[in-house]
C-alpha cells in the first residue's frame, strides 16, 4: 500500500521522530510506514489522517 506520509511530513518540516511522537509510535514505525514496508492498523491510519487533517483515502492508496 502506497501513502503520502513522507510528502505530508516534509511539507510540515517534521522529522520522523517528531511525527512519531505526535502519532504515539516510534521513529522506525514512521520510517516503515513511509517506505511501505508496514501497513498501519485502522486506528493508526485514523490517527495519521486526523493529524494531517485529511481522510484516510487521501493518504493511503491501494497498489493497483
Amino acid at each position: 500500500m502506497r501513502n503520502e506520509i513522507r510528502r505530508l511530513r516534509e511539507e510540515r518540516s517534521l522529522s520522523q521522530a517528531a511525527l512519531g511522537t505526535e502519532l504515539g509510535v516510534s521513529r522506525q514505525t514512521v520510517n516503515s510506514l513511509e517506505t511501505g514496508r508496514y501497513d498501519p492498523s485502522l486506528p493508526l491510519a485514523f490517527t495519521v489522517a486526523r493529524y494531517f487533517g485529511l481522510s484516510i483515502e487521501e493518504i493511503f492508496h491501494v497498489d493497483a
Binding site: 504515539g24 516510534s26 522506525q28 514505525t29 516503515s32 514496508r37
Partner: protein
C-alpha cells in the same frame, strides 16, 4: 485519548512491566532453587545467571527507552514495555515462525529418539536452538517490516 487517559495508560504499563520483571526474577530464582535441591548446582547457577541477565537487559532497555528513546530498537522497546503496534506485530511474526520451528523440531526430536539419540541431550539442546531461532526470526521480520 486525553492527556489524563494517556497518563493512566502509561502508569498501568509501567506497573505491569515492573510486575512482569519481578515475577520473572522470582520464577527464575525459584526454578534455580528447585534444580539446586535436586542435586544440580551448576545447572542452578546457570539458570540464575541466564535469568537475571535477561532481567538486567530488560531493565537497561527500560532505562534507555526513557533516556534515548530515538536510538533504541524494536527488541529494546518490547523488553522495556514500550512497544508500539509495529513492534508488537514484529514480535508476533517472530513468535509465529518460532512456533512452526518448534513444531518441526519436536517432530524431528521425537523421531531421533527412535534412532537411539540421547533424549536428555535433545531436551537440553532444544531451548538454545529455539532461542537462536527466535533471535534470527526476530531480526528477519524486523528488517522486513
Amino acid at each position: 485519548m486525553s492527556t489524563h487517559d494517556r497518563s493512566v495508560a502509561t502508569h498501568k504499563t509501567t506497573v505491569g512491566w515492573y510486575l512482569t520483571v519481578s515475577a520473572a526474577a522470582v520464577l527464575d530464582l525459584g526454578l534455580a532453587l528447585v534444580v539446586d535441591s535436586a542435586g544440580h548446582p551448576d545447572a542452578a547457577a546457570g539458570i540464575v545467571t541466564g535469568g537475571l541477565l535477561v532481567v538486567v537487559l530488560a531493565s537497561v532497555g527500560r532505562w534507555r527507552s526513557v533516556r534515548a528513546v530515538d536510538r533504541i530498537g524494536t527488541a529494546t522497546r518490547i523488553a522495556a514495555g514500550r512497544a508500539d503496534e509495529r513492534d508488537l506485530r514484529v514480535h508476533e511474526g517472530a513468535l509465529a515462525v518460532v512456533g512452526m520451528v518448534a513444531l518441526v523440531l519436536s517432530g524431528l526430536a521425537s523421531a531421533a529418539t527412535f534412532l537411539d539419540v540421547d533424549a536428555v541431550a535433545i531436551l537440553r539442546v532444544m531451548p538454545f536452538v529455539l532461542v537462536a531461532a527466535t533471535a534470527t526470526a526476530f531480526v528477519i521480520v524486523d528488517r522486513r517490516s
